[in-house]
Subunit: 316 residues, 2 copies
C-alpha cells in the first residue's frame, strides 16, 4: 500500500498526517510552529512532524503542504508568510522538504487545500460548488466551482476583506470596514483588550492567564461564552453579524450550492454557531428562498493536513 503525507503549516502549529490510498488517516502529529529563527527552522519542524506522523506506518511516497503566504506552486516557493518567523522574502519550501524527507513535495494555499478536502472527503461531498469559510485569526475563503478549485489570479476567496461597512472598523490588514475587522479572532482580541483597558469587565484575560496562553485562542473564547461573559458575547455577536453580511455577499456573487464553516473559531464554537451564521446571512441573501446549504467542516482540525495530502496525489 502506498501512503501519502500531508502537512498543514499554521501560524501557531504544524499538523501532519499520513494517509492511505483512500485518504484515511493512519497517523498524525502536531508540533508548535517555531517562533524564532527562519524558514529553514520551520521546514525542519515540518519534516519532524511528518516523520512522527509516519512512525510505525511506513514512509509516504509523496507529501503535500498547505501553506499561508503567497505560493508559487510550480516552483514550490512560499513568499511573504508574515505569521511565520523571518519569512518576509521567498523560500523554496518544497525543495527544503524534499531534501529532508527524500520524497516529492507539492505546495498549495492552506485555505484552498482545506476547502478541497471538505469538497472531496468532508461536508460538501454531494455538491459541485462550494465556498469554504475559515473563521480563525483571520477569515479565509476557498472556492470550488463546477467541481474544480477557482483560484483567480492566485488571490481569490479573500472573503475576510469583503467590505461590510464603508469607512468602518480598522482591519489588521490596514484597510477599513473589512469583514475580518469584525469577525477575525485577531481583530476581536484587539477590541477586547481595548474595551478591557477602558474598564469593561470580562473573564477573557483571566482564562488566558489561567491557561498560560499569550493570546485569546478559540478555546478561550468558547470558555468565556460558556461562562456567559458579556464582553465575549458582545464581540462574538458582532463577529456573527459581519460574517452574515460578508458570507451572504460572497454567496450573492458566486451562488454556490454550499458553504462550509471551518477554522479554529468555527470548529470550536461548532454547530450552534454555524446555525447562527445561517440566520445572520438570511436577511442579506438575494436568492433567499433557496439559501445554500451551510455545513460545519466535517474533517475538523485535520482538514488542512488531509487536503495537503490530497495535493500530493498529483505527484504520484
Amino acid at each position: 500500500m502506498s501512503l501519502c503525507g500531508g502537512i498543514d503549516l499554521g501560524g501557531t502549529k504544524i499538523q501532519a498526517v499520513v494517509v492511505d490510498e483512500d485518504f484515511q488517516v493512519l497517523g498524525e502529529a502536531r508540533v508548535p510552529t517555531p517562533t524564532r529563527g527562519g524558514p529553514q527552522d520551520v521546514a525542519d519542524a515540518m519534516a519532524d512532524a511528518l516523520r512522527q506522523a509516519a512512525a510505525g506506518h511506513g514512509d509516504p511516497i509523496a507529501v503535500g503542504v498547505g501553506s499561508p503566504g503567497v505560493i508559487d506552486e510550480a516552483a514550490g516557493v512560499v513568499s511573504s508568510a508574515r505569521n511565520l518567523p523571518g519569512w518576509v522574502g521567498s523560500f523554496p519550501l518544497a525543495g527544503a522538504l524534499q531534501h529532508a524527507l527524500r520524497v516529492p513535495v507539492a505546495i498549495g494555499n492552506d485555505v484552498n487545500v482545506a476547502t478541497d478536502a471538505e469538497f472531496e472527503l468532508g461536508a460538501a461531498r454531494e455538491f459541485t460548488s462550494l465556498l469554504g469559510v475559515f473563521w480563525g485569526t483571520g477569515v479565509g475563503g476557498g472556492i470550488i466551482l463546477d467541481s474544480k478549485p477557482w483560484a483567480g489570479r492566485g488571490a481569490s476567496g479573500e472573503i475576510g476583506h469583503v467590505v461590510v461597512e464603508m469607512g468602518g472598523a480598522r482591519c489588521p490588514c490596514g484597510r477599513r470596514g473589512c469583514m475580518e475587522a469584525y469577525a477575525g479572532r485577531g481583530a476581536m482580541e484587539i477590541r477586547a483588550r481595548k474595551l478591557a483597558d477602558e474598564g469593561r469587565k470580562t473573564v477573557l484575560f483571566e482564562i488566558m492567564e489561567e491557561r498560560g496562553r499569550p493570546r485569546l485562542t478559540s478555546g478561550i473564547w468558547k470558555r468565556a461564552l460558556d461562562r456567559d461573559d458579556d464582553l465575549a458575547h458582545e464581540l462574538v455577536d458582532r463577529a456573527l453579524r459581519a460574517l452574515g453580511a460578508g458570507v451572504a455577499s460572497a454567496v450573492n456573487v458566486l451562488d454556490v450550492d454550499a458553504v462550509v464553516i471551518g477554522g479554529g473559531l468555527g470548529l470550536k464554537l461548532g454547530e450552534p454557531y454555524a446555525e447562527r451564521i445561517r440566520v445572520a446571512m438570511k436577511p442579506h441573501l438575494f436568492a433567499s428562498e433557496r439559501p445554500p446549504a451551510i455545513r460545519l467542516a466535517a474533517l475538523g482540525d485535520l482538514g488542512g493536513a488531509i487536503g495537503a495530502a490530497l495535493l500530493s496525489r498529483r505527484l504520484t
Copy 2:
C-alpha cells in the same frame, strides 16, 4: 450570408439588432417597452423591433433574447419580470417569438448576455476572467471565469446586493445596506426626491420636466452634473463610494482579470467615471498591487442586443 438577430428586453426600451456572421451590426431598431397590457404585448413589440432592424437586410436564421426576470433557458420561459407589465407569473417568451418570427429563439439573462458580448467582442476580449458591472436602475453583474460564463444556480453576479453597510440604507429590493441602495439609479432617484422635498435645491427635476421624462434618466443625471448641481454631485459621489466598496468586494472574492463597466449610467457618464470607480475600489482591493483592468463597455448601448445575438449561435 446567414444573419442572426438579437433583442435586449429592458424595462423602458426594447433594442433589436441584426448582425452578420462576424457579429457586425447591419441593422438596429429601438422601440419603447409597452407600459400596459401583458407579456404577449411585450412579445409583439419585440417582434416588431426585430422586423424593423432586419428591414432591407434579409431575415435572420435565429434570434436571441436577453431578458430580465427569472429565465428557464431550456424551456424558453421568463418568470417574475417585475419591471415589465403584467409579468408576475411565467410566460413562454421563446415560443411566442418563434410563432411571430418563424425562426428558432434562445433566451438568456440580460446581464449575462451583455457580459458575454463584452468578453467575446468588446472591452474584455484579451482576458479570460471578467466581472461585468451594469450600473443602471439597479446594479447587475455578469461573470466569466476561465473563458466561460459562471451562472451559479442561476442567480450569480448579484453584485448590487453585496452588503456595503450593515444596517445601512434601504434597498429597493427591501434589504438593507446593499450596494444598489446607494448606487442604483432607482435608489438615487428616491433619495433625490426626498432631499428635494426637504428643501434641497437641485436642477434634477427641472431638467426632467424640460425633457418631458417621468423619471431621472441617466442623461438627466449627466446634465445635472455638467451644470454642477450640488445634490447630483453628492448622490453620484455616494454611489461611487458604494460601487468602489462593492465591486472591490466582488473582485476580492473572484480575483478576475478585468472589470467592465456598462449600464445606462455607466455608459452615459463614461470614462471619467470608470476612472473614479477604479479610484474608489483601490482602498478596498486585497491584491492592491495588481488591480484588475477596469474598462468601459466597448459595445455601448447595443451590447445587450449583440450579446443576445451571440446566444442565438447555439441554434444555428
